[in-house]
Amino acid sequence: MTRGNPFVRAFAICALLIVAALALAACGSSSSKSTSNSSKGNSANVAASSLGTTIFGTVPPAGTPVSGGTLTQGQLTGQTPTEVFPLANSSTVTTGTISLNSEMYMPLFSGPTGAEPKVYYPMSAASGPPVPSNGDKTYTIHLKPGLKWSNGQPLQAKDFLFAIAILKAAVTESPANWAQYVPGEFPVSVVSDSAPNATTIVLHLNKAYNPGFFLNNQLQDTTTVFPYPSQAWNVDATGGPHLSNWNDPAVAKKIYDYLNKQGTTVSTFATNPLWQVVSGPFKLKSFSATNSSYVMTPNPNYGGTPKARFAQLDVNTYTSYTAELNEVKTGALDVMVGFDPTQIAEMPQLKTQGIDVLGGPSWGWFGGIYNFKDTTDDFDKVIAQNYARQAMAYLTDQQAYIKGIYKGAAVAAYGPVPSAPKSDYSPKSATIPPYPYDPAKAVAVLKANGWKVVPNGQSTCVKPGTGAGECGAGIPAGTPFKFVWANQPESVSSVGALESEALASEAKAAAGIDITLQTKTFNFLVSNYSNTNPANVKYVNDWGVNNYGGLFTDYYPTADGSWNHPGTGLNTGSFENPVSDALIQKSVYGTNPMAVINEVAWFAAHPPVAFMPMQDYMIAVNTKKVGGAAQGWLSMTQQQWEPNFWYAVK
């Protein structure tokens, strides 16, 4: 071909047109769906008090059940199960691990109840809450009679004592060996235990624990506590003898090491006889070491309700939400977990195909963690002042973020617990913002505390001192209100990046607060922008806010470990306050089982974090093929799969 040849130019243009045409063809349907969604789609969360939460989309209908059949569920690469032994450590505790564990093993205290973060006894091994005595130092737990392991042996009280021995061995070896372990607390807090009969467990603790905390934080937790089959798992080697002296810490350690090794060997998940002894609604039939897809069948000896009605559940692994949704659209996948917010535009089109999308907020909080140790421009002194954090809250327009950034799939969260789902531990103020969006109030509160506010400029402290109307302790005259706000990249967490940009823009324009946005990877933010690790002292002045995401909290939402005792647990920003410490003490060790409500309300009024909306977790269900009780779908908004609620439909 010759340079300047008119044919070449013509065909180059032709090639470009073909590219454009193909691109339009590929995107055409989604763009048209986008248009239709704006007029017909569900664009906002709807409070549904009867469902105990605020939902986005539609709760899939119950349908007319049919027994038998095979249902399919998706899971994402990276969220697949990595440990089958139900004692996940902090590196194996994925969403998939938690789900697999609770499908195979019956928790002592199961949850949630639909979307609500509370114990659901029909699926629990315990028949009711632990009964405190001896000034809350002793707890008695009653198991349901007649429970069995899949091998026919009875599930008894000593199975839970065996679990405690193994848990103790695990956390004694390393606190990291159990993801939910807080040093000093359960199981180490159990100084002695006994089983006076087959269904009664008595735990003697090292001190008095709040009954609400002990049930809804210690025993019912994110990764849950399960009884273990003491007559099947009491081995420390393949083919080795069954050890009856597992109460001996040295023996328990050997058993733990063996079970943990076996439980993380992906290639033998379904073939290792250890994991064929289950108590939950399902047994593992096969597990692919290649892609972590797996197949489950109902456990006929399951003692909880409901029991699965289908014959088989295929859990297939997908590399992306797009791949998963494509399979739902073609009818090859019945239940998609983790419907992505970018796919919201497709909801009206999906509805016409019989695919319902449901979303609901998780239990916990999202937001930017303030760094109370960042001495750059005396930020540590500035942010220690509650009025400064109030000003930040006044500048945070959560409703606008929910509408514009989250496309409606989020709820407001003004403190450690979101405005939904419903919980007995939510203060009334959870739905009432203590500092509602109002830039004028942000300016007013700064001015009232000795700051010269320069909208679109740089606000500075002009009245140093600790008296009324002055900036506060350690803040010299001329101190600017400025700091670094670190996010994950927009390509990874678009909502986090966009809401940060919006807040930074508003703060600058309205109140002269200079926020420098910085992008770091999730791993970097979690590993390095955390003051709990002494090795991170070199980074302590690099960040004012760490917006890596947030935390899912326990049903009993105390900040114990998070915002007290600096240097331990999750207190990455080094927040401390004697008042909150005292409230946390009452939440954990007090006698009032509802004490945590006061703590939550205090943290909403004195935010240690720039609280942001709580994003919905969404699923998509092919209602032509699968149905189930609303409770089973709603629990998925808490990222808990309960397939025993599902069934094939006519």
Partner: protein, 316 residues
């Protein structure tokens, strides 16, 4: 020839060590030890230190690298602490599937690209040639994942002819071979992209050869056009294909990361992608080194093969 091959092998060894050193250094700079990935972020410093000591990550980096090289000399790529398996066994498990995907598309590409290139050369500057050139340029300029998305939209979502992804049940190479409908879209995507590239080379090569004296002689001898093209032109014009096939060897085993990701196909590329997400140290290291090694070996094989195919070429 033997001397040349030995020299190239020595260079290949040096290049491989260089790739290993750079990859090792980068990974160690980003994360000096996989301990926190294995033990979790809540692990005590003492536990991390003990783990590092047990697995040799407490030694100076140079010593660690030397140990790693010694391992590599035995073709031992280390251990995946996330999957609790040796990297060798993971590679062995996934390589077959990746080789099938890449191999099938490569063979299909050659079967289409060679006659297509010759056809375009013979019909040069015709409407058919320009049309095919436009199509080839379009496909050539298109990222593979983009073409894949387009094919999924049409073949799976609009026309319901083929599944949009490879089923999760296809976990073995034999499974992939015996489920052609599952493999159709990923193989077609790779084939279209490769045909676009190969046929351009083939067309250029055929055009060069059509102007050669031996073609004129063949025609002057009264050979039929079919005989000229397939007996004389085809063999000579296909020489560049040998180089291209040699350069394709890395992708045969190192995988087609984007295609495997897009089509949910469990091969080496997807293994690498997953390892990125879980910081599975030794898989990342091994995959990168393997890719480098195969590139070097692929070049060498191409050079040797071209001398075998064309006696006029001498390596020195």
């Amino acid at each position: 020839m033997i001397g040349y091959t030995i020299r190239r092998l020595i260079v290949a060894l040096i290049v491989t060590i260089g790739i290993a050193a750079i990859t090792f250094a980068i990974l160690h700079f980003l994360e000096p030890s996989p301990a926190s990935v294995v033990l979790g972020t809540k692990a005590r410093p003492a536990t991390i230190a003990a783990w590092n000591k047990q697995h040799g990550y407490d030694r100076p980096e140079v010593v660690q690298f030397w140990s790693y090289l010694k391992q590599l000399s035995h073709f031992d790529f280390g251990y995946s602490y996330k999957l609790n398996q040796s990297v060798n066994s993971l590679f062995a498990e996934n390589a077959g599937r990746t080789a099938y995907l890449s191999g099938a598309s490569l063979v299909l590409s050659l079967l289409i690209a060679i006659p297509l290139g010759i056809y375009q050369a013979v019909k040069r500057n015709s409407v058919a040639d320009y049309s095919l050139s436009a199509l080839n340029l379009t496909l050539y300029s298109m990222p593979s994942f983009f073409l894949g998305i387009i094919l999924i939209q049409f073949f799976a979502l609009d026309w319901h002819i083929l599944p949009p992804e490879v089923s999760s049940n296809v976990t073995t190479t034999w499974g992939a071979i015996t489920h052609p409908e599952q493999m159709a879209l990923p193989i077609l995507t790779l084939t279209f992209i490769t045909v676009a590239s190969f046929s351009r080379y083939m067309r250029s090569s055929a055009l060069d050869n059509l102007a050669q004296d031996y073609i004129r002689l063949a025609r002057a001898k009264g050979l039929s056009e079919r005989a000229v093209l397939f007996r004389h032109l085809l063999r000579n014009a296909s020489l560049p294909m040998i180089t291209l096939v040699g350069l394709s060897i890395p992708s045969l085993l190192a995988g087609n990361l984007l295609i495997e990701y897009l089509f949910n196909y469990p091969g080496l590329g997807l293994l690498f992608y997953n390892a990125l997400g879980t910081s599975d140290y030794n898989i990342l290291l091994a995959y990168t080194i393997l890719g480098g090694m195969l590139t070097v070996v692929g070049n060498l094989i191409a050079d040797i093969a071209i001398t075998a195919a064309d006696p006029r070429i001498r390596l020195s």
